[in-house]
Amino acid sequence: MNLLALIASLLPALGAAVTAAGGRDLRHVKFWSTAPVGAALLLTLLVAIDHGSGGASVHTYSIGTAGAFHVEIGTRVTGLSAIIAVLVAGVAICVQVFSTTYLGGEPRYPSYAALISLFTAAMLTVVYSADLVVLLVGWEIMGACSYFLIGHYWEKPEARPASIKAFLMTKAGDVPFLFGIIALGVQAHSFQINAVLAATGQDRLHHPAWIAFLLLCGVLGKSAQFPLHSWLPDAMAGPTPISALIHAATMVAAGIYVVALLYPVFALCQAVLIVMAIIAAITMTGAALCAFAQTDIKKILAYSTVSQLAYMLGGLAVGGRSQAIYLLLVHGAFKALLFLAAGVVIHRVGSNELSAMGGLRYRMPVAYTTMTIGLLALAGIPPFSGFFGKEAVLGAAYNATGEFAAPGRIVLIFGLITAGLTAAYSLRLWLGVFHGPFPDAPHEHEATVEAPQPELIPLILLAVPAALLGIVVLFGSGFSNYLGGWYGEAGAAGADLWPGGLTTLLSLLFVLGFGGLVFLAWRRDEGADPARALLGPVRPALVNGFYFDRLIDAAVVRPTRAAARLVGFLDANVIDAYVRGSGTGARGLGTVLRRLQTGSVQFYLTCLFLGVVIMAAVYAYVGTVS
């Protein structure tokens, strides 16, 4: 089973290499970008079925020692990693198939497809890795791949800064993350995840809160949480399928996955949990408000991802590890679906703007149906999967006891508000794209079919789990048992995912209230944006993400630029002055000596003679003194 997992994480990397080596032959690229990822999906499914609910299965290969550490590389399969791997491979194959026609005609498609495969391989490495160093390698490869993929359209002026921003912001979190991992490994005397978890369980860590905070920085960067969230909306400059991959299965999911993986480290200290809950509360509400105001449909979905990830982080802050992972799973399904469907709509309409859309219900039946399912799931309407995911987290917050009680209250209050806001922006997106009147501008492809088959089939395939993953709750604590305990052990008492009565009632009230408000605003003028009427004067602030970028500009960018200018000034005028001074000084001295070179032989001889006389005098003087 571990061998299968190893092959599953290596196959997409192989696919990436072969895809990149194959040049521009389209059939070659299409085959080698999809087949290895598809095979990896089969393998991850086999691993997940084979794993059952039996603890952590580790298999490592020793590759020698490095200093005080014995280095072993290998795979570690738990219920958690098995199920996340299925999500990763499943979304990746959908994205690859979707891309064959969506980007198949573009000149840089081969490199794009290779990078997606590499991205998938990196995420599977993170998921299956048996030790933290290999996990970090996969983590960093993902960072590099996201940089390249977000900057795929580098000829677009907004794509270049977006990719650099994504790289820098995630890297700002990755540096503390690296130190956190080093601290964990040094204190546990091993980088093996099992050993680290065992050391945590035996209370052998010296400063677990500091380690948890360091690791949390990396998670905030990768999972786009406040205050490192603003790269994700900007990352929409990349191709749409990339957004589906980054937002649903890889990259942002990696942050949540690492918290769940090293959960005991985070749960040791209540301060960490409260900080996580506060960050989650700020992010989920703020991002949901921003999503409501956006006019670019991809940005709506991007802020929605930020908000939903905060939900998961909130779930983790209140001790709801299984609930958060369940939400991650269903969110992966419906968010991939939503992005791919949005991609179809954007290609058809030729614009990202909500104002250019409307009334597409009958023209794009497949996109309409699947996106409706996705949005119903996102909004948390029963019986779609998102409803159960959200209720599981809210239930965990409501039932949190002991050290989880204080974060539980924070998450519960903001979670309920966010549930309403989520429904509001989902409804606004749905109405704006598919209902209401056509915009005045004619659509680009009036007569053609909705989209090619390879784009529609992934939509339909993703709509199935987006609609039906709620079945999982029928098994009660079965899902939690499958995931395994905090330390990767089997048979831990798992949490029940069945939605609780009171929180369900409250959140449905919020959903109906906010949704109804949006619907009423929309009914008054079907062509207008309900956000304009409802938000009024605060709308510009929300469209610009609370001007958070300006804050970063003032707090980070401008001081950095000023420091760079200062360094440049010091370099040009202080350090270089010494360099130039030495050169000029040498030349000045040389000029003095040049003046002695008169060309008169007799002058030279006189100098020589004087020198000899002086030397003789000195010699004689020294001789008499001593």
Binding site: R580, G581, T584, G588, T591, G599, Q602, F609
Partner: protein, 122 residues
């Protein structure tokens, strides 16, 4: 004979020769002054050889060598002077300045950073 006579004579001859080499402008006169220097040295060698009662007469042998070399050197020197005179129509040593270094002053421009950047760009 007291040893001081030949030595003082040698010193006087050397001083005259030195003056001639360092101060005279005429190349022929300088050559003659060099001869004086050489002869002052040979006088010293001979006198020390006698004073120290050198069994092998090394001073005399050296003197013979120096006389030979001085003859050759004077011939060579005269040839050079002749060539210089033919080329430049003068044998005045004060005007033979072909070996002088031209001196160009350091300007303030070389100290400014902009100039350095311009040089780098070039």
């Amino acid at each position: 004979m007291h040893a001081v006579y030949p030595l003082v004579l040698g010193a006087l001859l050397f001083a005259i020769g030195l003056y001639g080499v360092l101060a005279r402008r005429n190349a022929i006169a300088v050559l003659m002054a060099i001869e004086l220097l050489l002869n002052a040295v040979t006088l010293n060698l001979v006198s020390f050889s006698a004073i120290l009662r050198d069994r092998y007469g090394m001073g005399q042998i050296f003197t013979l060598f120096i006389i030979t070399i001085a003859a050759a050197e004077t011939g060579l020197g005269l040839a050079i002077v002749l060539l210089v005179y033919r080329q430049r129509a003068t044998a005045d040593l004060g005007e033979q300045r072909a070996l002088a270094e031209p001196v160009e002053p350091v300007t303030a421009d070389e100290l400014s950073p902009r100039n350095v950047e311009a040089e780098v760009a070039r």
